[in-house]
């Protein structure tokens, strides 16, 4: 298990919204310890049995410490929610919210990192550790099973697809983490690879990338310098034309930079086998685990 505290106590920011309420229910069903919710002006309500407060500091006064937050607050107000979490001493913040302006993200990510806070996202499905029955995110529980494979990804549904494909072959995941589909994210591939390296429960890593930026190339460089665990990869967006954004704000080829080919080359140079299609990932995984 990576990045999660041993004894997770989660506050849900934006708990009374449609998404916040739905996923609070699903996270509780999975086994996540959600201790409080926050929506300004909704103090005293309960959402699926979870008490709602006007602020995190009020929640802390009533129920004691919280050590992780998940944010479902709409984009214009999401940065404020991050600052509130950080200023209340929370060290792990998962920002599910999509469509946050990059300028705002640049600020709250820099602020959080300067305070030693880990931000997952924005625009992330979150983090799930099946062995511990902890899910701080929106991924469907049925796509994940306990095991020894770490998955780090820039997308959501594609990650579920790949996780399901390895489950069918008898594997499972230690931790799965979506870094988020935006141009600026709290964690990059390298940050997460470092965590998996330290994690005794993780035997091998699947890296699911996509076009745009250079996070995959940086990961390749990092792995090439000596990484103790086998890594396999899949990169989406081979057919994407340059200059067009493919769904995710960060998925865009600029000129000749950020293409699948460039990322594949970099990863293969680092001895990371790259699957041509999602269904090939499990075959490559078997191969690297046999080595």
């Amino acid at each position: 298990m990576i990045l999660l505290p041993e004894d997770v106590q989660v506050v849900v920011q934006g708990i009374t919204g449609r998404q916040g309420s739905l996923h609070t229910k699903l996270m509780l069903e999975y086994g996540t310890n959600i201790v409080a919710g926050v929506t300004p002006g909704r103090k005293g309500q309960k959402v699926h049995g979870v008490p709602v407060f006007d602020s995190i500091s009020e929640a802390k006064e009533e129920i004691g410490e919280v050590n992780a937050s998940i944010i479902f607050v709409p984009a214009p107000f999401a940065p404020d929610a991050v600052y509130e979490a950080v200023d209340n001493g929370i060290k792990l913040v998962v920002v599910v919210t999509e469509h946050i302006p990059v300028k705002d993200t640049a600020k709250f990510v820099r602020y959080s990192r300067s305070k030693g806070v880990t931000v997952i996202g924005p625009n992330t499905p979150g983090i799930i550790a099946p062995m511990r029955r902890v899910k701080i995110g929106i991924m469907p529980a049925s796509s994940f099973s306990p095991g020894t494979i770490g998955i780090v990804s820039r997308s959501g549904t594609l990650t579920y697809e790949i996780s399901e494909s390895i489950i069918r072959e008898g594997y499972g995941t230690s931790t799965t983490l979506g870094i988020g589909g935006d141009p600026i994210t709290g964690l990059n591939f390298v940050d997460v690879l470092k965590e998996f390296e330290k994690d005794d429960e993780t035997e091998a890593v699947i890296l699911v990338g996509e076009i745009g930026g250079n996070a995959e190339e940086e990961a390749a460089e990092y792995i090439a310098r000596g990484y103790s665990k086998p890594v396999v990869a899949y990169i989406a967006g081979r057919m994407a034309p340059p200059g067009r954004r493919m769904g995710h704000a960060g998925a865009i080829i600029m000129g000749s930079a950020g293409t699948v080919e460039a990322k594949e080359r970099a990863l293969e140079k680092a001895n990371v086998p790259v699957a041509k299609k999602p269904s090939e990932v499990v075959r490559l995984l078997k191969e690297v685990l046999r080595r």
Binding site: V102, S155, I184, N214, R238, R245, M246, G255, K277
Partner: protein
């Protein structure tokens, strides 16, 4: 949202960055009049949201107002990179002595806006970085304190060291930062930024891209596109999936299994039947589309909604064959609905893609 050149230059001028004299022409007659006002000669530039226009004949130097008229007529009726120009920018011709590059882009590693300058302008930034890496200076800007004057001096001096030009360039660099900050832009370029005869420093081409997610702070720029993430390609197999990553993977699968994808389309997480219906309408409005593959792995999305959307679309008399991969949440109930419609459906994505390729006759 990528602003057209003339809109980008309008913003630059408001921030004190000089551009060549010019006006926008929506008709050949206007191109003639503007060329007359500019002294009889002009440069006609098609206004499309794409670069490298010169390579495909989208930029023309004309020697007289009559010539401006006939060439404008041709340019306004031609398609460049799939775009029909809505207008032309008609500018004074200038004699360029030197060309530089000045731009900014979001850098993932430093998690901030990074400014780039180079003494070699006029080519695209990747070419420049490859051919003249030593000419490139990158400076990351702290999002809280913004660009500091010393940073603008460094970026400017990297373009030209001679004192008077350096000073002018420093002002331009700082102004461009203000544009980026005020307009929520994470992709800006002045390329080339040129020293012209007489020592004038001018932004000859400009590109400003506004963060779509920040458009709510800039109502004056008009709304962005609709919510659906759709990009057209030149193949004949339409594609749709829930989630951007899966949608890209689906488009790639069509190609890897021997077909040609007609589009990228992410219907989004938690899509309603209405959203699926609308996405199908959009995909099949492309006349090249001979079949459509829908690849859905439902988590937050409900398979029943997907199936209902498809059913509604088929009931409206669609003639393009549709192949569906439906798995995950609500797939069983969804499959029952699909069976009523007779549409082909699979639980494995590759089978669905292969069938769609076969139906497209590729």
């Amino acid at each position: 949202m990528r602003l057209l050149e003339y809109k980008s230059k309008g913003i630059l001028r408001q921030y004190g960055i000089p551009t060549p004299k010019g006006e926008v022409a929506f008709s050949p007659e206007e191109a003639v009049e503007i060329t007359e006002r500019l002294g009889g000669k002009s440069v006609l530039k098609v206004q499309i949201p794409a670069g490298r226009r010169g390579k495909v004949g989208g930029i023309k130097l004309v020697g007289s107002p009559q010539e401006a008229g006939s060439i404008a007529k041709h340019l306004l009726s031609t398609t460049f990179y799939g775009f029909k120009p809505e207008c032309l920018l008609v500018e004074e011709p200038v004699d360029v002595m030197e060309e530089y590059y000045l731009g900014a882009i979001v850098d993932r590693s430093s998690r901030s806006l990074t400014f780039i300058s180079s003494s070699k302008g006029g080519m695209n930034v990747e070419e420049m970085a490859k051919e003249y890496p030593e000419s490139v200076l990158k400076v990351s800007i702290d999002p809280f304190i913004g660009m500091q004057p010393y940073q603008s001096r460094m970026l400017a001096k990297n373009m030209n060291e001679s004192t008077d030009i350096w000073k002018t360039l420093t002002k331009i660099v700082l102004s461009l930062w203000k544009v980026a900050d005020d307009y929520d832009s994470f992709m800006l370029e002045i390329n080339p930024l040129a020293v012209c005869e007489g020592g004038r420093v001018l932004a000859l081409d400009a590109r400003i891209e506004i963060d779509d997610n920040a458009l709510f702070r800039h109502p004056e720029l008009g709304g962005g596109e609709e919510g659906l993430a759709y990009v057209e390609l030149d193949g004949n197999v339409g594609t749709m999936a829930n989630g951007a990553g899966l949608a890209m993977a689906t488009m790639d699968l069509v190609y890897l299994l021997g077909g040609k994808p007609a589009n990228f389309c992410d219907v989004g997480g938690g899509a309603s039947a209405e959203a699926v219906f609308k996405a199908l309408k959009r995909i099949t409005s492309n006349s090249r589309v001979k079949s459509v593959v829908i690849n859905t792995l439902c988590g937050i999305t409900n398979g029943i909604e997907v199936a209902k959307g498809i059913k509604r679309f088929l009931e409206e008399g669609c003639t393009v064959p549709i192949v569906v991969r439906l798995a995950g949440n609500g797939a069983e109930e969804g499959s029952k609905i699909l069976e009523e419609t007779g549409v082909i459906h699979y639980s494995e994505p590759e089978e669905a893609v292969k069938e769609a390729i076969r139906l497209a006759g590729a």
